[in-house]
Point group: C2
Chain length 289, copies 2
């Protein structure tokens, strides 16, 4: 299978899993949860599947971890798009949840997706070893919470109203939290599900996360809103310091390319079993959305 075929198969399987797991929830909040968990690149879920595949973790288990991280990612986007946060109207080429429904439904759908992710991970169907399930919950809660993703969001909001622009080091730290933490977890999940050492995958995830965000900043400058599926040019419009504004587009692209190579280097212990993960790192900086 080519990389694109594997990615497409993963996207289909993750969608099926999410549809099954979310079927129980009714009313507008249930509809909004399903809507927010539809589409997208499924990069985080794909990472959970591919790191699990390295260790021959049964695919149904890996798919539950993939569904959990996609649910947390979807929750973070719903809340991040709210008028009191980034105030975005479009996401993945469709109206954001608060535009399609209302702010209250968006708050509740995000809240419930976070609960759902932990419910799925703690359930016996995810692993017969309860210690593995507890570790999955513990690490995702840490990466998502006030020392992880939420902290990144808070720093991002503070930066918007700060008198001085962020330095490059501050942006790297902000993005490590805001974006990196939710990219790291699925890389860790494969090792946790296999009760294997996560260290090489955490090194891979750190470089991948930074490369991802540099590519995001480049897309905000060079991307096509129709393809990206959300507004572009927002950062420059808001006078926001980004990798591109601080380094220039060319140096940013070089940095991203170097990070891809370092990320791929961390996969060497796995040999050609990690070919797809190596391709993911390349994909992250060449994607057009």
């Amino acid at each position: 299978m080519t990389f694109q075929d594997r990615l497409r198969t993963a996207q289909d399987d993750i969608q099926t899993t999410l549809t099954d797991l979310l079927a129980a929830f009714d009313g507008p909040v249930g509809d909004a949860m399903r809507y927010a968990c539809t589409g997208g690149k499924r990069l985080r879920g794909f990472l959970a599947l591919e790191t699990s595949a390295l260790f021959d973790v049964p695919r149904p288990r890996a798919l539950r971890a993939a569904a959990a991280i996609e649910a947390v990612h979807a929750y973070s986007l719903i809340h991040d798009d709210l008028p009191c946060m980034d105030d975005d109207d479009m996401r993945r080429g469709h109206p954001t949840v608060h535009r399609r429904w209302d702010d209250a439904t968006a708050v509740l759908a995000g809240d419930a997706l976070q609960s759902a992710a932990f419910e799925w991970l703690a359930d016996a169907a995810t692993h017969d070893d309860a210690g593995v399930r507890a570790d999955l919950v513990l690490t995702l809660a840490r990466n998502a919470g006030a020392a992880g993703m939420v902290r990144g969001q808070a720093l991002d909001i503070a930066a918007e109203t700060a008198a001085t622009a962020l330095s490059l080091d501050q942006i790297i730290e902000l993005q490590r939290l805001k974006t990196g933490c939710l990219l790291e977890w699925p890389c860790r999940a494969g090792a946790l599900l296999a009760q294997a050492n996560p260290a090489p995958l955490l090194a891979y995830a750190a470089d991948l996360g930074l490369a991802f965000q540099i590519a995001d900043d480049l897309l905000d400058v060079e991307g096509d809103a129709e393809i990206v599926g959300k507004a572009v040019g927002k950062d420059a419009g808001a006078g926001k310091a980004t990798f591109v504004s601080l380094m220039g587009a060319e140096a940013a692209r070089t940095r991203a390319d170097n990070l891809v190579k370092t990320a791929q280097g961390s996969l060497l212990p796995f040999g050609d079993r990690a070919d797809t993960l190596a391709a993911v790192a390349r994909y992250v900086v060449t994607r057009d959305k």
Copy 2:
């Protein structure tokens, strides 16, 4: 110790535990998390401590469960108070989080408190048996999510704009979800921590939850905003169907009193070890805030 002494000791111990657990989080979001987790009756945490005491669960473990349910309760209040939800300015006698900070900080502090609760429950300090930790996470996630508390919140919002007022049965179901689910969990937690049968405590919790909400409706009509610590008279002002509007105050009080007796009846298997839990049921309908 009298009931009031036990409650006050529990309130102090829960506050200390929350202060310790929340110390790691900095910035405005960390401040808002601590602010939202200060004060309050600690009824949910007290239930976790008292059901744990029935089975001689070590108090440090019970306190972690108490902290987790208080964090989830605080998160639900922060989000419920938002302008797009109930739009409340006062809570526990102080400005609500979005009034003291802003809406974005309130969304993020609530989000992070939910993550924190699951992080604490999944941590090995809560129980050496990972199966117990996974069960604590699983049941709290279910009770808090789109089939539990969030579903109750959504039904409550839908009722406000509905053409016809809710029936008594519909209000009972709404309140079972909105309020009952977060009162049930700490009653279950004591049994889970002891790996004991939760059935009698779940029966107790069901009656307690309904009695609690009837008392809340009575407080909205008869309470003093200064003592209650939040606005009163909101339900009648909004033309909202409540136990009091549907049954009248006297019948509502009789119903609440009968529920207290049934709740206390469910505690008979525990003998006088459950005296404090029996007193909690009485407290729930006689409290003035």
